[in-house]
């Protein structure tokens, strides 16, 4: 499965705006996603925004990246422009299991 635009957007930003190289940027985002129980193939922009605030910020601080707050704001703004994204569809296991008790 291909990575989502939300994942690529965050990786692109870190790669271009910080001292992290491509593998390090992608690895950092992947680690944050794993800690959140998400994966690059299905993460939505709204999920990515929360992961950025709650987990990626700490990851970047531990890597001593300058102006972490500014990067997080910039990433969230770019994610917001993506909208909800195609991965917010109804094909996920979570969406199916949510429906299964929808009538209760």
């Amino acid at each position: 499965m291909a990575e989502t635009e939300a994942f690529s957007t965050v990786c692109d930003h870190l790669e271009r705006s910080t001292a992290l190289g491509r593998p390090a940027a992608r690895g950092t985002v992947r680690l944050a996603l794993k800690e959140a129980g998400l994966d690059p193939e299905s993460v939505t922009p709204s999920q990515m925004a929360i992961v950025t605030t709650k987990l990626l910020r700490a990851e970047l601080e531990s890597l001593r990246i300058a102006d972490v707050e500014g990067h997080c704001l910039s990433i969230r703004a770019r994610l917001k422009r993506l909208g909800t994204g195609p991965a917010d569809g109804e094909a996920t296991p979570e969406a199916v299991f949510e429906r299964l008790a929808a009538g209760s």
Binding site: G37, S46, E94, V96, F97, A101, S104
Partner: protein, 236 residues
């Protein structure tokens, strides 16, 4: 199945057909055949009705197993080649076994065991494992999401419950089936009462877990909400 009619989605249809095919009609017809026969080893002359009930019971049960496997494949492993191959192999083994067993006298003599019997029962004894494993793995991920406010704790818990219900199904299948492996029918019959009671207990527990998953009462919802540390609900 009513949900599927409303949503037009397939997973709920597969699950509904799976439960109806296995637990309701499939086992229902096979149990009716067993009751008429007076047990697996019988004692009464086997009639056409008994054979027909066994046939239709197996047909519906195996259709139900196929539906449950389709549910697992569609929900957890959509568009993945390896799981599709696993699904194909399991379904082929199940149906070749079912048809082959019938054509070699397996519907008349319930203790008749051959390669076809092993092909069919090999799948019946293991298919709930797949759903259980997928559900438990996904539950781990959902717990992490719920902690961050990225998932509804009630939905996260539903994966745990469905995994537990699958383990319950597996246990019930094993409990009812293992005496069939005993060579001596009289020895198998000695375990009958224990088996019936144990299977019934597991069945009741499994149905209770299913009801918590799909018809969660208010107190259960409240309990889950209280258990959950506060997170940001915006994405959930």
């Amino acid at each position: 199945m009513a949900l599927s009619r409303r949503t037009g989605e397939r997973p709920e249809l597969y699950l509904g057909l799976g439960i109806l095919g296995t637990a309701v009609f499939g086992y229902g017809a096979q149990i009716a055949s067993l009751v008429l026969r007076g047990g697996p080893s019988g004692g009464t002359e086997v009639t056409v009705t008994m054979v027909a009930l066994t046939f239709f019971g197996k047909l519906l049960h195996d259709a139900g197993v196929t539906s449950v496997l389709l549910f697992v494949l569609t929900v957890f492993r959509r568009n993945e080649t390896g799981p599709r191959i696993l699904f194909g192999l399991a379904v082929a083994s199940l149906w070749i076994g079912m048809v082959g067993l019938g054509s070699t006298g397996g519907y008349r003599d319930l203790l008749h065991q051959n390669a076809f019997w092993w092909m069919e029962y090999g799948v019946i004894w293991t298919y709930p494992l797949w759903g259980a494993c997928e559900s438990f793995l996904y539950y781990r991920r959902m717990r992490k999401r719920a902690r961050l406010g990225l998932a509804d704790p009630l939905v996260a818990n539903r994966f745990l419950l469905w995994g537990l219900a699958s383990v319950g199904t597996l246990t019930a299948v094993w409990l009812t089936s293992w005496p069939m492996l005993l060579a001596d029918p009289a020895a198998a019959a000695r375990y009958g009462t224990f088996d019936f009671l144990a299977t019934a207990a597991v069945g009741i527990a499994t149905v209770t877990v299913y009801s918590l998953a799909f018809l969660p009462p208010a107190w259960y919802r409240r309990w889950l909400a209280d258990e959950q540390p506060a997170g940001e609900p915006e994405a959930a």
